[in-house]
């Protein structure tokens, strides 16, 4: 009544139009409130994460370009003093910023994002995004041999995390915000949504999770749309005509895979060896490490290889179009390994994606050209080998085999080279895995004192299944349709304490020897067992299920039937608490 009394009214006694509009809005919001339950809200939020990450990555790319133009000029000129002065001085500035303002932004950012997911409940400080943006733009723009993709990934993750915290979403969802943002950032940087989604699943999340896939895809796609809106849909490279004509040429690509695998190991081992040693040096040296890296890179550029500076996409493009001889390509690959290693281990913020692609491209071109010298009948162009080489290093160094294949396909838009890419990447991956047990990102996290799960570990983990702990079908299976006295006579000849009962028409139950004999002694021998047993039946399992799934039953039921998937009436065996624990015990002893 008081509400009605206080409502402003018009002369005719009707509520004022402003009040009507307000009430309508309130009603609309109230009705919409019911629509946006958390799952739907999270999906919509993923689109916004993609949009914000896309906008941030657009600005990031502009910042790198602007830095490059302002610091190094539009025309790269060898033998210019700028080449070594700029990266050195910029390195000094970056070191000061990192040490005093943004301590959490060293390195690529992939590990930090993964750590946020598994350790810090999805928490990444917003200033990480700010710091990464400024420092990575300065470092890459000044010519440090690093790429913009991993920082974009971390910027996206940081934005998503900040947004999730501000919206006070549940802890479970907040934890997932970082990978969703990471996918958006990476997709925007690479202009390749599929590769970004796969990379986040393979490397950041570290396991296949259907629950998050939709959000990751939505954010990746929306960020790519934003980037294409502002920066155009031009691919990173002008893709040359690539051909694959004879299956025998796969041998040539396999050789490339092996060489790429060895180069990946050399690259990863040099980073793994130098990084902890440089970190262990006195703190004051950390002010000069990025500057020293910049000086070294500048000197390499000054002496005639300016291609190794920055991300190097232009040089990859030229390599793809046969602009370099195999000797130049090989030298550039080696120099890039040196330059990227010193840049990365010095703690300069920047990514490893672009250097990996660069090294792979140069190595691929060099190997392809050398192979053609010895086998002139090979039909693959230099551009084809350059493209395959990119995937090879991706598979070998980053150890993301699926992403590496899709990355090449997405970048080239050519499915004709899928077979060479798969063959070469497989060889590279196998060589790398056999010579460097721990993948590079895992190695970096372990050096930082963190142990995070990885898809590679998960792939290699031997899963125990129900069939591993399964006992043979018991000698006596009771029937619920039979009378108690018949069943009691049947168990006389057995020593088992618990018996499985086949219910009618389907299902299973259990009964102990004591319970059965007790029923018999109570004079219920002329009743069917089914009429006495409780209706709740024992759940059955399938032989291929993970043994973990049996744990929830074996505590409540002495015997759990294992049945055939094609015929649930056919008993394959049984499991008990003892058999399950015994299996786990045997395994832990073996490990």
């Amino acid at each position: 009544m008081s509400d009605l009394a206080s409502t402003p009214r018009s002369a005719e006694g009707m509520p004022a139009p402003s009040v009507v509009r307000l009430r309508a809005t309130q009603r609309l919001f109230a009705s919409l409130e019911g629509v946006f339950h958390e799952e739907v809200f999270f999906l919509i939020l993923s689109v916004f994460i993609g949009i914000f990450s896309g906008l941030a990555v657009v600005c990031f790319r502009l910042a790198i370009d602007w830095m490059h133009l302002a610091l190094l000029g539009p025309l790269p000129q060898t033998h210019s003093w700028r080449l070594f002065a700029v990266p050195s001085l910029a390195g000094l500035v970056v070191a000061i910023l990192v040490l005093h303002l943004f301590p959490g932004i060293r390195g690529s950012g992939v590990n930090q994002t993964k750590a946020a997911l598994y350790i810090f409940n999805g928490f990444i400080p917003f200033r990480t995004a700010v710091g990464k943006f400024i420092c990575a733009a300065l470092a890459i723009g000044s010519g440090q041999s690093l790429g913009p993709e991993d920082p974009s990934l971390q910027i996206g993750a940081s934005i998503a995390s900040a947004l999730g915290r501000q919206l006070q979403i549940s802890r479970e969802k907040l934890r997932l915000m970082a990978p969703v943002g990471a996918a958006a950032g990476l997709a925007a940087a690479f202009n390749a949504p599929i590769s970004a989604v796969l990379f986040v699943i393979e490397e950041v999340i570290g396991r296949w999770s259907a629950g998050i896939l939709g959000s990751v895809v939505l954010s990746a796609v929306s960020s790519v749309v934003i980037v294409r809106w502002f920066l155009g849909s031009e691919p990173l490279f002008r893709i040359p005509v690539t051909t694959f004509k004879r299956p025998t040429e796969l041998v040539a690509y396999a050789v490339l895979g092996i060489v790429g695998g060895l180069a990946s190991v050399a690259f990863a081992k040099s980073i793994g060896y130098l990084r902890p040693r440089l970190k262990a040096l006195p703190r004051w040296t950390q002010y000069f490490q990025p500057a020293f890296a910049g000086l070294l890179i500048g000197l390499i550029a000054f002496l005639g290889a300016p291609q190794i500076m920055g991300a190097g996409y232009d040089s990859m493009d030229q390599a793809m179009h046969g602009q370099y001889t195999w000797k130049v390509l090989a030298v550039l690959a080696v120099l890039k390994i040196v330059a990227s290693t010193v840049s990365f281990v010095s703690g300069t913020p920047g990514g490893m994606f672009a250097p990996t692609l660069f090294i792979g491209a140069m190595l691929g071109g060099a190997v392809g050209d050398v192979e053609r010298i010895f086998f002139p009948h090979l039909t693959g162009s230099t551009g084809t080998y350059v493209l395959v080489g990119m995937g090879v290093l991706f598979a070998g160094f980053l150890r993301v085999p699926m992403t590496s294949v899709f990355m090449v396909l997405e970048v080239s838009g050519n499915y004709e080279i899928i077979v060479p890419v798969i063959v070469a990447n497989t060889f590279s991956y196998l060589v790398s895995r056999s010579l460097q047990t721990i993948p590079i990102f895992d190695l970096l996290t372990r050096q930082d004192g963190l142990i995070l799960p990885s898809l590679e570990e998960e792939r290699e983990e031997a899963i125990l299944r129900v069939e591993d702990a399964m006992l043979p079908v018991p000698a006596a299976i009771l029937s619920a349709a039979d009378y108690v006295d018949a069943n009691a006579r049947r168990v006389q000849s057995c020593t088992d304490a618990t018996f499985l009962v086949r219910m009618h028409p389907s299902g299973w139950s259990t009964i102990t020897r004591e319970q059965l004999l007790h029923l018999f002694q109570e004079g219920k021998g002329d009743l069917t067992l089914g009429s006495i047993l409780p209706s709740q039946s024992v759940p059955s399992l399938y032989p291929d299920l993970p043994l973990d799934s049996a744990l929830r039953y074996v505590n409540n039921y002495a015997l759990v039937p294992v049945v055939n998937r094609a015929n649930s009436l056919q008993l394959e065996g049984v499991i008990s608490r003892e058999s399950v624990f015994q299996k786990y015990g045997t395994r832990s002893k073996n490990e």
Binding site: V58, L62, P74, A162, L167, F230, L231, G322
Partner: protein
Amino acid sequence: MSWSLPKLVPRSAPLILLILTLAAATGFAAVGHLVARYNANQQSRGRKLYSQGLAAASAGHYDDAIAAFRAALTCDPTNSQYQLSLARALRDSNDPRRLDEAESYLVALWQRSPQDAAVNLALARVAAHRGSVEDATRYYHNAMYGAWNSDPDANRSKARIELIQFLLKKNALANADSELMALSTSLPADPAAHLHAAQLFADAQDYSGALTQYREALHLDPSNSSALAGAGEAAYHLGNYTTAEHYLQAAVNKDPQDADARRLLAITDLVLRNNPFHSHISDAERNRRITAAFSQAETRLIECAQQKGVDLHAAGGTSSSPLAALQTRWMATKPDLSRLRSPAETDLPDAIMDLVFQVEQQTASVCGPPQGLDLALLLILQKREAAIQ
């Protein structure tokens, strides 16, 4: 120090989404403004670099031009003009490894705008660099029938002429002649254009077409000495010596310093004055010409034998040289000259001239191209063979 965003967002899903939408729209507008300003700056920088590239390319400094065009493209990656110029510089730098990159740029441009005549012309030139007649012809045709930004007729004509010159270089004379036919139908009323076309016809060994074009040029400029000389030369190659004499005489009168015309005129005069098969001469004149040719044949035979060290009078005719055999035949035929006047000897002039022609052909193959009357006799033979055919 720790930063965090202010917690202003209320916990109402629709309202949150509304606020996020507004924030996204604001961000969109801000980034759009930033990108527009950045692009404007980049485009301005790109234009400067492009001008530098054009200057370097026109000075023949292709490496500098390529660097400048590449830098211009980093400022404005989708600019077709920069891409086209870079592709041209790559192509013209005479580095075969750069042709692939040039082609890649051009193919990308072509896929975007297949009717662009400038792109097709550039692609045609790349194909011409590679020596691919088929690809070059296809792209030159695309250029001819494509869209030109300015002066389409002149540009089409230039493209066709370039194709003709390429085909002539590749010795694809039939293809070149077809293109010349098409070219001749669209030439402007300009003597220079007709002269150029006539020269191309001549290069394609289509002297009839060449003569027609020279006549067109003379129609527009009757005193054009180049056209007169060209028409004379074309008529000479066609074996039309009377016409050739007419034009060559006019050309020599117009330009007495034209040595080629004078030389051709001299030979033409020799042909006209020594052709025994000419229809408007008396029997006496015909016999005189046959006798003179017969005598010239002996002279040529002796000179050639001396040049090659062949003894034409070896004892018992033991020499196996074809020159000696011809000398023997010549000696055997010489008494027949006296019977030329006899009206019954209708086949004799032909028989004597056949021997003369055999001598001239044989000596030409053994001792090299003849000069003077010997050359005239060979030309008479060619004309006669053409008439018989």
